[in-house]
């Protein structure tokens, strides 16, 4: 039984399956695509999946690895120890062997290296390279040979791999398809003759219906399409570029398209222009590009233009660590830009939430005529998960309020209204002409750069929208574990799954723990936070950053000594790291000792 299985409650044997596979090797040699094929094969076989990948910042060369956790139940984290390591070279072996638990399996390319003696784990040396070169004549098919080995050894249905290879290579012609099918067979045949010494067996998974296999970036792109976004402008940046690439491929099927602009300022400017012209539009970037966009966010706020801006966060500051994950842009998302500049900041929590979250982001942008910044991060954007086919009725599609009839007589684009939202005319609408104005302006959009009273009134109008958004923020806050716990955990963004798993672990050990996870971070869901915090003895705030950015924002609203748990190494949390902190804090509280912040 694996380390991951122990944490899972059991119903039936298939539902109880929970394995972590990790593939490691030289970047550019197909490690990622091997991992992706294994992922899709496991998903199609009926398992839930949760992947994690790290890849080098270099284009070719450097170490890359791809991890797939497959289980019979919904997965909330990438897991703890590795059950199966597939090492294409010695570096992969050396980097990852410490993560393979005792009793775990190591499959290695016997042509590449020989691992030292190790009685704790089960080793299968397979001459992947020579099998590929000698039997197929193409060295790179060693990846497919390795998949054949996995299929046979761990009873992952062969047909699934065959189907996948056909889909993947049909475009390259039948010869290529056949070579890959042969390579798969070579792997299968090779291990048929050996003695299976490990207990890892999957077979068909418990889920009989098919689900989507999506990365966070793909899921949010699909969500944007679902809510009516047909225009995207962007500039390439890791780890957000695949959103642009995805939409460039998919939007034309629905009459939309992508423009690649000269920089991120232009990207958001183009989005604002399209929004002004009456079309829902979005852009996506990462930290460095988001920094550039801040001036345009200010413009969107004062001109009251709907826009969705996605920031797939990576490690900063400056160029930072482009392929690694961090939750370091919350301050910038909430406060970036000059002046009093209210915008809405949301954070996506899971691959499935990326779909519905982006739909809500568009709805809120349209409803309140404000820019909505949506925070994702490298770990969420690039991990894949099984997602049930989205239910489009779950989130309605909302459109902006436009003027009609009497409202077009002496039309005032920025008319003061009780809910602070003014009907927005669309170019082409007779009588609706106005200037979308970056200067402080009056109700008609006329410049009012010297009207002091009007500035206060207009600022209040823009901030006034927060009242209604805050109500939505309260609705979009989720809680786990005990509703009135002694020890609370507050997280945001992609940490939702790991926190949920850690809380579950702590509850099973008898601790009084509950977690709260808001989806809208600015404005904050004060009612829900207040209710949750009532009666807690301590609140832990895990964040993948150094300074505790959300904790800092909450300290502004609450006189509460939040206990920070920060991880700032470019990697996401494991459930164990959060569980350990819960245990430590709970024990200290119980013993009447002080509680303090730590870094992982």
């Amino acid at each position: 039984m694996s380390a991951n299985q122990q944490a899972m409650p059991s119903n039936s044997s298939q539902a109880n399956i929970d394995y972590v596979f990790r593939v490691g090797g030289e970047g550019g040699e197909g490690v990622i695509s091997t991992g992706e094929m294994l992922t899709v094969a496991l998903a199609r076989a009926g398992f839930e999946i949760y992947t994690f990948r790290t890849y080098p910042a270099e284009i070719k060369g450097g170490h890359a690895n791809y991890q797939v956790r497959a289980a019979g139940k919904l997965l909330l984290s990438y897991g703890a120890a590795v059950d199966v390591l597939l090492a294409f070279n010695e570096e992969a072996y050396q980097k990852h062997i410490k993560d393979v638990h005792p009793g775990g399996v190591v499959i290695y390319d016997a042509d590449s290296f020989t691992p030292p003696a190790d009685n704790a784990r089960i080793y299968y040396g397979v001459p992947l390279t020579s099998l590929a070169t000698e039997k197929i004549g193409v060295k790179l098919t060693k990846n497919i040979v390795a998949l054949g080995v996995c299929s046979q050894l761990f009873e992952i249905p062969q047909e699934t791999f065959q189907e996948l290879l056909r889909e993947k290579f049909t475009r390259k012609g039948e010869t290529v398809v056949q070579k890959n099918l042969q390579a798969l067979q070579v792997g299968i045949e090779y291990v048929k003759g050996i003695d299976k010494r490990d207990p890892v067996r999957l077979g068909p998974g418990p889920r009989k219906t098919r689900e989507l296999v999506l990365s966070g970036n793909e899921s949010l792109s699909l969500g944007a399409i679902a809510v009516g976004c047909r225009f995207y402008a962007g500039y390439p940046i890791t780890p957000a570029s695949d959103i642009m690439e995805f939409l460039a491929k998919e939007l034309p099927k629905l009459g939309g398209f992508v423009v690649q602009t000269e920089d991120e300022i232009a990207a958001l400017g183009t989005v604002l222009g399209a929004s002004f012209a009456g079309k829902k539009a979005m852009t996506a970037t990462s930290g460095p590009g988001f920094s550039l966009m801040t001036e345009m966010i200010g413009l969107a706020v004062v001109a009251e233009l709907p826009a969705v801006i996605i920031n797939v966060q990576r490690v900063g500051p400056s160029t930072g660590m482009p392929t690694k994950t961090e939750q370091g842009d919350l301050y910038l998302a909430c406060y970036g830009g000059h002046g009093n500049c209210p915008r809405i900041v949301m954070a996506l929590t899971s691959v499935e939430d990326c779909f519905y979250g982006i739909m809500r982001a568009f709805n809120i942008a349209e409803q309140f005529q404000m820019p909505v910044v949506v925070l994702s991060d490298a770990s969420l954007g690039h991990r894949k998960a099984t997602v049930p086919v989205p239910d489009l009725s779950r989130v309605p599609v909302l459109e902006r309020r436009t003027p009609a009839g009497q409202e077009l007589v002496n039309y005032g684009r920025y008319r003061f209204t009780p809910d602070h939202v003014s009907p927005m005319s669309i170019p082409g609408m007779d009588g609706g002409g106005y200037v979308a104005e970056g200067l402080e302006h009056d109700e008609h959009g006329y410049p009012a750069a010297s009207n002091h009273e009007n500035h206060l009134r207009s600022t209040k109008k823009r901030y006034g929208k927060f009242q209604a958004v805050e109500a939505i923020a309260n609705d979009l806050t989720r809680t786990y574990g005990e509703p009135h716990p002694a020890i609370g955990v507050i997280g945001w963004g992609s940490t939702e799954g790991v926190i949920r798993e850690a809380v579950q672990m702590a509850i099973e050990k008898g601790y009084s723990v509950g977690a709260l996870h808001p989806k809208i971070l600015y404005p904050q869901p004060l009612a829900k936070l207040t209710e949750f915090m009532k009666g807690t003895k301590a609140i832990i705030m895990p964040e993948v950053n150094y300074s505790g950015q959300f904790a800092t924002l909450l300290r502004k609203r609450f006189a509460y000594d939040f206990v920070q748990l920060n991880k700032c190494v470019g990697l996401p949390f494991t459930p164990k790291e959060i569980f350990d902190k819960i245990e430590e804090v709970a024990n200290n509280v119980r013993a009447g000792r002080g509680v303090h912040a730590t870094s992982v």
Binding site: G255, G273, F276, A277, G428
Partner: protein
């Protein structure tokens, strides 16, 4: 034909008396009236600067955005609804200084829009610093000993970046300017109309009389606007004689022509949301 007064906005221009920009505004209103384009079908996008205040003085849809960023916004406005007429306006600092990157790439894209630059060779709104088109050795508030950099040639830059209609007008030649603007708006593609628009307050060097002594019309000398090399040569003519008029014009498919999604002719803003399509579409990701 529409009347010029239909294009007059409710806000009175705040330019200094005698400012060249008045002539540009008049010429634009005349061009729009002559072309009979309904005010509600015009989107005028600007940046920041004296001349960028223009959208407020015109009766149309306007967008007064950020310094140097008019062209990205105008690009989005055009792509969002390409059935409407899009005009971007601004000054030399806005377009050739802070916004020059956008200028370069908008030329390349050949979006169907008209870009009117009121070029006064000075930063007027910030009261008199050197701009990218200030001539070498001219003394300004930021260059008390004279500018060190040479002036940029907007015409040459537009030509080399792929603009398909490249013209220069003079605010003191109003009817000629209105003709150039009409041509620019009618042209399918990215059209630049750089306009000598004297700043009577802060540029004591490039004044109305200074220009009147020097400008001549390319049409009067039978310039061939289809000749790219000749246009380039004329772009650098500066000194005793300075050309105005249409330097270059070529027909190249616009960005909208080349974008398959827009070929149906339905503007994006009018595209109905077809939710049924999505269900089958998602099957690709199973």
């Amino acid at each position: 034909m529409a009347q010029v007064k239909e294009y007059i906005g409710k806000v009175k221009p705040d330019w200094c008396p005698g400012c060249g920009d008045f002539g540009v505004l008049n010429a634009l209103q005349r061009a729009l009236a002559d072309l009979d384009i309904a005010p509600h079908n015009v989107q005028v996008v600007s940046g920041i600067g004296c001349s960028s205040n223009l959208p407020g003085f015109l009766n149309a849809y306007g967008f007064h955005g950020l310094h140097g960023r008019s062209l990205p916004v105008a690009t989005g406005a055009k792509l969002g609804n390409h059935s409407l007429t899009v005009i971007a306006t601004g000054g030399d600092g806005d377009g050739y200084g802070i916004g020059v990157g956008h200028f370069v790439h908008t030329c390349r894209r050949n979006i169907d829009m008209t870009y009117i630059v009121m070029d006064n060779q000075i930063y007027g709104l910030t009261t008199g610093q050197a701009s990218p088109t200030t001539e070498k050795d001219v003394r300004t508030k930021s260059t008390p000993e004279g500018t060190i950099e040479i002036a940029l040639s907007p015409i040459a830059l537009a030509l080399s970046c792929g603009a398909t209609y490249v013209a220069r007008g003079f605010s003191g030649e109003n009817l000629h300017l209105a003709q150039l603007m009409k041509g620019a708006i009618e042209h399918k593609g990215f059209a630049l109309v750089d306009v000598f628009s004297p700043c009577v307050t802060y540029n004591k060097h490039n004044t109305y009389p200074w220009f009147r002594e020097r400008v001549y019309k390319l049409e009067d000398e039978r310039h061939d606007p289809s000749d790219f090399r000749l246009a380039m040569e004329k772009a650098f003519e500066w000194g005793a004689r300075i050309p105005i008029g249409l330097f270059y014009k070529v027909n190249r498919p616009t960005y909208e022509d080349e974008e398959p999604a827009l070929r149906s002719g339905i503007p994006l803003a009018k595209l109905p949301l077809q939710r049924n399509d999505l269900a089958s579409f998602m099957e690709d990701f199973i």
